[in-house]
C-alpha cells in the first residue's frame, strides 16, 4: 500500500532570517533561543506518514504548532524547509496555480469555527468547492445535496447557515469538504467549538462516514478523548515538535516521555464515565443470554470494572426495556482506564487495580 501523505522534516519559522533559523534549529537550538531574536519557530522537524484511509490525529495544546502544521499540508502556508508529498507529488514544488488545483480537487478542509459563507445558502455552501472546480450548476447541486444527505442534513438545503445550530453548521462544513470527493480531509479542531454531547455525535458520525468513505484524514485536536476515539494513529506535539507518534494504545500504555505521560495523567475519566460511553455498540445479540449479571447504560465505570472482574466474558449492557444495547469487553475497560492512569503493566486482573486507583483518586 503506497503512502498517501508524507511530511518530511517540515519546518515553519515566522520572522526574520528564516533559513538561518532553520539551520540553527537543525544544530540543536531550541525555541526559546530563537524567540529572543524575534523569530518564532512554529513547527520544527515534523515528519510523519499517513496511510490511505487512515485517521491521523495531531494532538497538542494551543501554541504547539499543530494548526500551522496542518496548513503546510495543503500549502496555505509554505514550509520554510522540508517537503510535503501527497500521492507521490511534492506539494512544496508546485506553482500557485497548480497548488490551487490540488486544493480544489484533492484536499479539502473543515474549520474550527465552521467558516461557512453567510451569504450563501446551505446548498450553495456545500457546493462551493464544486463551483470553484467549475462543475455545472445542476451537477454540483446534485452532488452537494448528496453530501448534505450523508451528513444528515437532507431537507435543510434551502436554509441559511445562521439558521442552523452549531452542530448542524459543522455538518454543512463537513458536507462542503466531502462534496468535492477530495481524497485528503484536513480537519482543524473541527469539533472543538461544539458542546460535548454534539461533539460526541459528530465524532460518531465521522467514524460512521469513514467506514464507507475511507478518506485519508488529518485531524487536529487538543482533546485527548477525541484523539483516542478517532485516531488510528496519533501524533503528540509540544513546542513545535512531534514528541510521539503511535496508536492510541501506544500513547496510553507506552508514553515516550514525561510530557506525554503527564498529558495522560491529567485525565481521570473513571469518575465520569458510564457504561454507555465505554460500551461497544456492535453486538452479536446473544451476549446477555447466559443469565449472568448485566449493566445498564448508567452503570458507573468502577462498578463496571467490578462486574468485568467477576464475569468470564464481556459485560452485557441492557437498556430500560431490557434490550441489549452494547457489550463491554475487558480490553475496552483497560483502554479507558489507561487514560486516567498512564503507564500500566498490562495486568491480568485490571479491575482490581482499577478499583484501587479509583479509591485513591
Amino acid at each position: 500500500m503506497s503512502s498517501r501523505l508524507e511530511a518530511e522534516h517540515l519546518y515553519k519559522v515566522f520572522g526574520r532570517r528564516e533559513e538561518e533559523a532553520v539551520e540553527r534549529l537543525r544544530d540543536g537550538a531550541d525555541r526559546e533561543e530563537l524567540r529572543a531574536d524575534g523569530t518564532t519557530a512554529a513547527v520544527i522537524d515534523a515528519s510523519f506518514t499517513v496511510d490511505p484511509g487512515q485517521i491521523f490525529v495531531v494532538m497538542g495544546l494551543s501554541g504547539s504548532g499543530k494548526s500551522t502544521l496542518l496548513r503546510m499540508l495543503n500549502g496555505l502556508l509554505a514550509p520554510t524547509a522540508g517537503r510535503v508529498l501527497f500521492d507521490g507529488q511534492d506539494l512544496t514544488a508546485l506553482t500557485g496555480r497548480a497548488l490551487r488545483e490540488v486544493r480544489a480537487r484533492k484536499i479539502s478542509m473543515v474549520f474550527q469555527h465552521f467558516a461557512l459563507f453567510p451569504h450563501r445558502s446551505v446548498l450553495d455552501n456545500a457546493a462551493y468547492g464544486l463551483a470553484v472546480q467549475g462543475v455545472p450548476r445542476p451537477e454540483r447541486e446534485e452532488r452537494a445535496a448528496e453530501a448534505l444527505r450523508l451528513c444528515g442534513l437532507a431537507g435543510w438545503e434551502k436554509s441559511w447557515p445562521d439558521e442552523l445550530s452549531g452542530g448542524m453548521q459543522q455538518r454543512v462544513g463537513l458536507a462542503r469538504a466531502l462534496a468535492t470527493d477530495a481524497d485528503l480531509l484536513l480537519m482543524d479542531e473541527s469539533f472543538s467549538a461544539l458542546d460535548p454531547l454534539i461533539r460526541r455525535d459528530m465524532q460518531d458520525q465521522l467514524l460512521t462516514l469513514q467506514q464507507t468513505l475511507k478518506k485519508t484524514i488529518v485531524f487536529i485536536t487538543h482533546d485527548l478523548n477525541e484523539a483516542m476515539r478517532l485516531g488510528d494513529r496519533i501524533a503528540v506535539m509540544r513546542d513545535g515538535r512531534i514528541v510521539q507518534t503511535g496508536t492510541a494504545e501506544d500513547i496510553l500504555l507506552r508514553p515516550e516521555n514525561d510530557y506525554v505521560a503527564s498529558f495522560i495523567q491529567d485525565v481521570d475519566r473513571t469518575r465520569v464515565l458510564t457504561a454507555a460511553a465505554v460500551m461497544d455498540a456492535q453486538v452479536r445479540g446473544d451476549e446477555a443470554d447466559c443469565g449472568c449479571e448485566t449493566a445498564t447504560p448508567d452503570t458507573p465505570f468502577t462498578a463496571l470494572c467490578a462486574l468485568g472482574a467477576r464475569l468470564p466474558h464481556p459485560v452485557a449492557v441492557l437498556d430500560g426495556g431490557r434490550g441489549l444495547v452494547g457489550v463491554v469487553p475487558r480490553q475496552r475497560l483497560l483502554r479507558f482506564l489507561g487514560e486516567s492512569q498512564g503507564a500500566l503493566p498490562a495486568p491480568a486482573t485490571p479491575c482490581d487495580r482499577g478499583e484501587k486507583v479509583t479509591a485513591r483518586a
Partner: protein
C-alpha cells in the same frame, strides 16, 4: 526658525502643472462636463412632476409605499419653490462627482485592503484630503478646470473620496479571516476570493461608504457653488451673499430633500444588492406603508412615466424663432458677467445684462467672491465684471492678475472708504475721536469680507495712524452680515461702528455719519473700473467699445440701487427695466447701434 517656503513651492508646483499637464486637465474637464451635461439634460427633459413620479416609483420599489409618497411630496415641494432646475443641476453634479469618486475610491480601497504598503501610503493622503479646508482645494480647481461645473465636481469628489476608500478597505479587512482561508483552502483564485467572498460580505460597509460619499458631496455643493457651479449651491451662496434669509432657507431645504432622498435610496439599494440584506428585508413584516412592488412592476411604472415624459417633451412648445432686428448686434453670442455681491456691482451687472440682452446677446450672470472672480477673468472664463475698485481696494488682485486682464476704465468715481456710525451717536465725528469712545462700541469695528482691500487698509494703516490698535478689534464678516448688524443696532439705537463706502444705499436708508479722516489714512478714493478678460475687446469689439464709454452719475447709480433694493431678490432685472423706462434715452446712449445701413433700415 527659518521660514520654510512651502507655500512658494506649492505655487510653483501649480504653475508647473498648469504649464505641462493642461492636456490632462482638459481631458478630465471634457469627461466631467460631458457626464454632467448628459445627466442634467436627462433630468431636466421631462416635466418636473413626471420626473418626481419616476423618482417616487424608485423609492416605492426600494423602500416601500411611504417612502414613495414622501419622495413625491419632497420633489413636488422643490418644484413649487421654483428651484427645480437648480435641484436637478445639483443632483447631476452630486451624482457625477459620486460616480467618479467611486470609480477611483473602490478600486483604491480594494488595493489598500490587499496590500499593507498601499494602505500605509494612502492613509495620510486621505487624511490630507479629508481635513484640508475645502476652500483651499477650490482655488487650484479653478486654475486647472476653470470656473463652473468641472471645478465644482473635482473639488467635490476630492473631498468625498476619502470615505469611499476607507470604508471599502475597512469592509474587506473586516471579512472573517477564516472565511478567506476557507475560500483559499478550496483552491479559489485570489480574484474569485475577492468577488465571491470578500466583496459580497464587505458590501454593507462599502455601501455605507457610498452613502458617505454622496452625503459629503452634497455638503460640498454649497462650497462648490462659489466657483459658479450654479444649482442649489449657487442659490444658497447668492442668498448668503445678499443676506436673503428666505431664499437661503428654500435652497437649503432643497438640498435637504435631495440629501434625504439619496441617503435613503443608497441605504435601501445596499439592502437590495446584498444577499444578507435581502434576507433580512424578506423576513421583516410588511404593512401597507412598507409594501413594495416587484421589480417588474416598478420597471413598468418607470417606463410608462418615462414614455409619458418623452411624449410630452415632443409635444411641448418649441422655443420661438430668434427675433431678428436691427438692434440685434449680438446675434445670440454669449457673454458671461461675474459680480461681487456689492450693491453697485449688482446694479451695474444687471444693468449690463439688460442692455446686452436688448442688443441680442445671451448673457449669463454669476455671483462670486472676489478671489474666484479675478481668477475666472484671468483664465478667460468670465468676460467682464463691472466692480473693480482701483487702484486701492482691489490692489492685491490687480497685482496678481493685472497683466492678464484688460482695464476698460472707470465708470464711476471717485469713491471713498470710511468708518461710519449712526447719527444718534454723539461726540464721535472723526476717526480721532474713536480712541476715547472704545468702550461705547465694545471695542468692535464691524467689518466686511476679510479679502476686501479696505479691510487690509483698515487693519494695516488706519488703526495704526489713529492709535486704535489696542483699543479696537476688527470683526471680519461679510457685507450683508455687516449691514444686518447695522440694521439691528440701528433699530435698537445702539452704538455701532461699521466699515462703509460711498456710494452706498445705506446712506440714504439710515441716518449715518461718515467719520472724518483728518490724517488722510484711507488715501485717495478709488474709481470703479470695468475689468475684462484680455481679449474681450478683440473678440467682441462692440461690447468692448460700449463698456469703455460707459459712465454713471451718482444720482443714476444710487437711484438704480435703491430701485433694486426695493424690488428685492430675484427681481433685479425687472427693476433695471423699469428704471430704464423711467430714464429714456440711456439705452441708446450706453449701447449705441453702429452707424451703418442697418440703422436706417430699422428706421425705415
Amino acid at each position: 526658525m527659518p521660514r520654510l517656503p512651502l507655500g512658494d513651492a506649492v505655487d510653483s508646483g501649480v504653475d508647473w502643472l498648469l504649464a505641462h499637464m493642461s492636456w490632462l486637465f482638459d481631458a478630465v474637464k471634457t469627461l466631467v462636463e460631458g457626464l454632467y451635461d448628459g445627466l442634467d439634460a436627462v433630468l431636466t427633459a421631462p416635466e418636473p412632476l413626471l420626473l418626481a413620479g419616476i423618482l417616487a416609483v424608485l423609492a416605492w420599489w426600494l423602500r416601500g409605499l411611504a417612502a414613495g409618497v414622501l419622495a413625491f411630496a419632497g420633489f413636488a415641494l422643490i418644484d413649487s419653490l421654483a428651484l427645480w432646475d437648480e435641484a436637478m443641476s445639483t443632483l447631476s453634479l452630486v451624482l457625477v462627482a459620486t460616480l467618479v469618486a467611486l470609480v477611483i475610491s473602490i478600486p483604491l480601497g480594494i488595493w489598500a485592503a490587499r496590500s499593507q504598503a498601499v494602505s500605509t501610503a494612502v492613509r495620510p493622503v486621505l487624511d490630507l484630503l479629508q481635513t484640508m479646508p475645502s476652500m483651499v482645494l477650490l482655488i487650484p480647481a479653478i486654475l486647472f478646470f476653470g470656473m463652473g461645473v468641472p471645478a465644482g465636481v473635482v473639488a467635490t469628489l476630492i473631498f468625498a473620496l476619502a470615505p469611499g476608500v476607507r470604508m471599502t478597505e475597512l469592509g474587506i479587512r473586516q471579512v472573517d479571516a477564516e472565511l478567506v482561508e476557507a475560500a483559499e483552502a478550496f483552491g479559489t483564485p485570489p480574484r474569485d476570493t475577492l468577488f465571491r467572498v470578500q466583496l459580497p460580505l464587505a458590501l454593507p460597509t462599502v455601501m455605507a461608504g457610498v452613502n458617505q460619499v454622496i452625503m459629503l458631496g452634497l455638503s460640498m455643493v454649497v462650497i462648490a457653488g462659489m466657483v459658479g457651479t450654479g444649482g442649489l449651491g449657487g442659490a444658497v451662496n447668492e442668498a448668503i451673499g445678499q443676506l436673503d434669509i428666505g431664499l437661503g432657507f428654500e435652497a437649503g431645504l432643497g438640498i435637504v430633500v435631495l440629501a434625504i432622498y439619496l441617503d435613503r435610496m443608497t441605504g435601501a439599494l445596499g439592502t437590495r444588492i446584498s444577499p444578507l440584506g435581502r434576507r433580512a428585508a424578506a423576513k421583516a413584516r410588511t404593512t401597507m406603508w412598507t409594501h413594495r412592488p416587484r421589480a417588474a412592476v416598478a420597471a413598468v411604472g418607470v417606463a410608462v412615466l418615462a414614455l409619458a415624459a418623452g411624449g410630452l417633451g415632443l409635444a411641448g412648445p418649441k422655443d420661438g424663432p430668434a427675433k431678428a432686428s436691427a438692434t440685434d448686434v449680438g446675434k445670440g453670442r454669449e457673454i458671461t458677467i461675474g459680480y461681487i455681491p456689492w450693491d453697485e456691482g449688482i446694479a451695474s451687472t444687471y444693468l449690463w445684462k439688460e442692455l446686452l440682452e436688448e442688443r441680442g446677446f445671451e448673457v449669463t450672470t454669476t455671483q462670486y467672491a472676489a478671489g474666484p472672480l479675478y481668477t475666472g477673468l484671468a483664465t478667460g472664463r468670465i468676460d467682464f465684471q463691472t466692480d473693480s475698485w482701483l487702484p486701492t481696494t482691489h490692489a492685491e488682485y490687480w497685482k496678481k492678475y493685472g497683466d492678464q486682464l484688460a482695464d476698460l476704465g472707470t465708470w464711476y468715481g471717485p469713491t471713498s472708504l470710511e468708518l461710519s456710525v449712526p447719527s444718534y451717536v454723539k461726540d464721535v465725528n472723526s476717526l480721532a475721536d474713536l480712541k476715547a469712545h472704545a468702550s461705547e462700541f465694545g471695542g468692535r469695528i464691524t467689518g466686511i469680507e476679510p479679502s476686501a482691500g479696505m479691510m487690509g487698509l483698515l487693519k494695516d494703516k488706519v488703526l495704526e495712524r489713529y492709535g486704535l490698535d489696542g483699543a479696537y478689534r476688527v470683526v471680519d464678516g461679510s457685507t450683508p452680515a455687516m449691514l444686518a448688524e447695522l440694521e439691528r443696532a440701528y433699530a435698537r439705537k445702539e452704538p455701532i461702528l461699521v466699515t462703509l463706502w460711498s456710494p452706498h444705499w445705506a446712506y440714504s436708508e439710515y441716518g449715518l455719519k461718515k467719520l472724518k479722516d483728518p490724517a488722510g489714512a484711507w488715501g485717495e478714493g478709488d474709481g470703479v473700473h470695468t475689468v475684462a478678460r484680455k481679449d474681450l475687446a478683440a473678440d467682441q469689439p462692440e461690447v468692448g467699445a460700449w463698456l469703455k464709454d460707459f459712465s454713471m452719475t451718482e444720482e443714476q447709480l444710487t437711484g438704480l440701487e435703491a430701485r433694486i433694493q426695493k424690488a428685492g431678490k430675484g427681481q433685479e432685472q425687472d427693476a433695471v427695466r423699469t428704471w430704464l423706462k423711467e430714464h429714456p434715452g440711456l439705452v441708446e446712449k450706453w449701447v449705441p447701434v453702429p452707424e451703418t445701413g442697418e440703422k436706417s433700415r430699422a428706421a425705415g
